[in-house]
């Protein structure tokens, strides 16, 4: 029955016009960035690297390549995508409560646990499809438009700024894993808005609350104050950009990036653990609350 329910939930999601807002928004933003970089990217790069010519030896490399464009897109877009995720997952229970269809659904011989499991699974599948769409546009389309070469990544630690150069054939697999981490982060947002959706009777509340929570937690995560520093390791927002860790390479004694290396696997594992922990927690709370909920709508 859960499989049937998941099919039905996916059918409902993809028959709603609002579902496609996210796909269109991503296509427009990525398209605009790619168009701008194609038109005037080299000038912009020259400006960025002006005065650093003596620090880098990029002889044969094409800095403005597909990998670089993808990094730039992800860095820009992954801050906005949670809104697009919450737009659907925040509506999954609250939207049905608002329409009155939750009542109809629960008069059928299905348990509330099955309903929640199916709805959450469908939400996670939607999130995956949205991210996959982003990967197609940001990575594959950029690779087709700009070609592939070494990836130069800007690293900022306090006031020191430096660049790490990953060789072209050492990049693609990093993106695959990075998208995995990005998915974990977005799935956490999906779980949060889904949980809030259980407590609401219309979808605006969960969507706005999700974005507010992300905003507040992100501010706490980025402010380097002693009180916040103690809390930061427990906030999921501290790990929303953990995907970047895949491009943080270890360096040898000569300062050269070690091929195939990841600077801190432990930090990445911790990030994944915290994100998965939050997903389990949010879904657990949602399930418990929904099973106790009186359907009054």
């Amino acid at each position: 029955m859960v499989f049937t329910l998941i099919q039905i939930e996916l059918y409902k999601i993809f028959r709603k016009p609002r579902t496609y807002i996210g796909f269109v928004a991503i296509a427009v933003i990525v398209g605009l960035i790619q168009l701008a970089l194609k038109a005037d990217g080299q000038t912009w790069l020259k400006l960025m690297f002006s005065g650093m010519d003596d620090m880098f030896a990029i002889q044969d490399g094409n800095v403005l390549n597909g990998y670089f464009v993808c990094f730039l897109v992800l860095n820009t877009l992954l801050i906005q995508v949670p809104l697009l995720v919450a737009l659907v997952t925040g509506d999954m229970v609250a939207g049905e409560a608002n329409l009155g269809t939750l009542r109809l659904l629960l008069t059928k011989p299905i348990s509330r646990s099955e309903v929640m499991l199916a709805k959450f699974s469908a939400g996670l599948i939607y999130t995956f499809v949205l991210l996959f769409w982003m990967a197609i546009l940001a990575l594959f389309l950029s690779m087709a438009m700009f070609g592939t070469s070494d990836l130069l990544v800007n690293k900022s630690y306090a006031i020191i700024q430096f660049y790490v150069d990953a060789e072209g054939d050492d990049v693609f697999w990093r993106y695959i894993v990075a998208f995995g981490f990005a998915y974990a982060a977005l799935a956490t947002v999906a779980a949060l808005s889904f949980m809030l959706s259980v407590f609401a009777e219309n979808s605006i509340g969960p969507i706005v609350t999700t974005m507010s929570i992300i905003l507040v937690c992100t501010i706490i995560s980025t402010m380097d104050l002693p009180l916040f520093t103690k809390v930061n390791p427990f906030l999921f927002t501290s790990y929303m950009t953990s995907w970047k860790g895949m491009f943080n390479m270890a360096v040898d004694e000569n300062g050269a990036a070690i091929r195939g290396s990841v600077y801190s696997i432990n930090a990445l594992m911790q990030a994944m653990g915290v994100l998965v922990g939050h997903i389990v927690l949010f879904f657990g709370v949602a399930l418990y609350a929904f099973k106790k909920k009186d359907i009054l709508s």
Binding site: G100, T101, L104, D294
Partner: protein, 301 residues
């Protein structure tokens, strides 16, 4: 021999300080059209939602089809088709899609033929592919009935089924409820705050007020022709005095807008004749609705 489908014992629901349902007990037999009558806020919908497992009772017991609710919710709901309050459907989907989805959730693997037959029964076959958002309230109600009936349940629960319907829709609904019992041998629970709606379809009924049972019984038991209320409206200022001197005096009670008689239904023609004989100008002489009088008497309204 009657077969008890539903047995509710001492059912209660409290929302913070409000007792929505308070110690309600009743039974529904197989083949009944069981009327749930009460004013808005009397506790009808809360009771029905507890039967369906939508609301958790604060106390009491519900047994349906030999199963205890809500512990055996799936076993019970498999045998029920319901419209609770409004037929809220997925507006962005077609009638066919709505029906197919709900049939699958009811455990069926529906064929196109089955679904189209079901839509045909409620007169929506021609609109099968139209989105529900284009439907009138009556059409939504009919689609709701198709959804409730698609898995051939034993019991149909209709909570306020005539809400939002026009007079023709109300008549159709009434006809359909009676048919569900007569032609399909279904048991039906129907709730309404409209007394005449319940009286015209129910075989047994319960009247609830402020979450409590006021009375339960067969409609024929509850409707007692010996206590028919008849209203007289007249401009004759001496009417009460004239009637006070007649044999009708003990059965007359002055009311704000006329005089009210309590008598056997068979005595109404004799009363009319005597009023004319007493030279009382009759503006209007009408039987007050039988259940209305019972309801008002029992609830003290």
């Amino acid at each position: 021999m009657s077969n008890t489908l539903i047995s509710v014992n001492n059912l209660s629901k409290q929302f913070k300080d409000v007792h929505a349902v308070n110690g309600l007990s009743f039974t529904v037999q197989q083949g009944d059209i069981y009327g749930f009558l009460g004013q808005n806020g009397a506790g009808k919908s809360t009771s029905i939602r507890m039967l369906m497992g939508l609301i958790q009772p604060s106390g009491g017991e519900i047994n349906m089809f030999g199963y205890r609710m809500p512990e055996h919710k799936k076993d019970v709901l498999r045998q029920i088709g319901a419209i609770i309050e409004r037929p809220d459907l997925y507006k962005y989907l077609s009638a066919y899609d709505n029906l197919e989805m709900m049939a699958r959730l009811s455990g069926l693997k529906p064929t196109r033929q089955l679904l189209m037959d079901q839509l045909d029964k409620v007169g929506l076959a021609a609109r099968a592919q139209s989105k529900v958002k284009t439907f009138s309230q009556g059409m939504k109600q009919r689609l709701g009935i198709a959804i409730a009936m698609v898995h051939d349940p034993q019991l149909i629960i209709l909570d306020e089924p005539t809400n939002g319907l026009d007079p023709q829709g109300i008549a159709e609904m009434r006809h359909m409820i009676i048919n569900l019992r007569k032609e399909h041998q279904k048991t039906v629970i129907v709730s309404s705050h409209l007394l005449n709606e319940i009286e015209q379809v129910a075989t047994r009924m319960i009247i609830i007020d402020k979450g409590r049972k006021v009375i339960e019984g067969s409609t024929s038991e509850l409707f007692d022709p010996a206590n028919t209320l008849v209203e007289l409206q007249t401009n004759d200022a001496d009417a009460a005095e004239k009637i006070g001197r007649s044999t009708w005096a003990s059965r007359m009670k002055p009311e704000a807008d006329g005089l009210l008689f309590t008598l056997h239904a068979d005595d109404v023609p004799a009363l009319a004749k005597d009023l004319v004989a007493m030279d009382i100008a009759i503006d209007n002489l009408s039987k007050r609705h039988s259940l209305e009088s019972l309801f008002l008497t029992l609830t003290g309204k």
